[in-house]
Subunit: 90 residues, 2 copies
């Protein structure tokens, strides 16, 4: 089994309103940052995953994102996989 | 003024407990993903920022993260800046 570090980015689909992002943008303008636009807030998830190979790891991550980490109706996701170690884990 | 796309990653410091991450990991194990470990949940923020140059943009982003996007007591942040366009914006 190979252990992978996964970095997952979950973002709202562009057509979905982001009230939290709008609130942050408004707050930044109150602080004087009137050069900031289009604030969108998403989730960033890190996890470690053991799998036989990268293809299996990707398939599992797709399922994990669809089932638990992202709401596919309103969110998109993408992820990066980095192998951490090769070899049998205890 | 140059317009930049900023991607900001806010993560809990390693020493800070992450109950949401623990809950997700436990949920994944209930779904059968017992090969997943060390789930940590952070924030991913996208915004557009206009600045005279990259150095100014970085300084502004540092202030923005410290003041509004991250809680420096318990969170770390990092960001990436990509120039979107050069030239005066209307």
């Amino acid at each position: 089994m190979i252990e992978y570090q996964a970095r997952i980015y979950v973002t709202l689909r562009p057509s979905v309103l982001d009230p939290a992002g709008t609130a942050v943008q408004s707050g930044l303008q109150h602080l004087g940052y009137d050069n900031v636009e289009q604030v969108r807030i998403g989730k960033y998830i890190e996890l470690k995953l053991s799998a036989a190979d990268e293809e299996t790891a990707k398939q599992q991550l797709d399922s994990i994102c669809d089932q638990m980490l992202a709401n596919p109706v309103i969110e998109n996701y993408r992820f990066e996989l980095t192998p951490l170690s090769a070899g049998v884990k205890a």
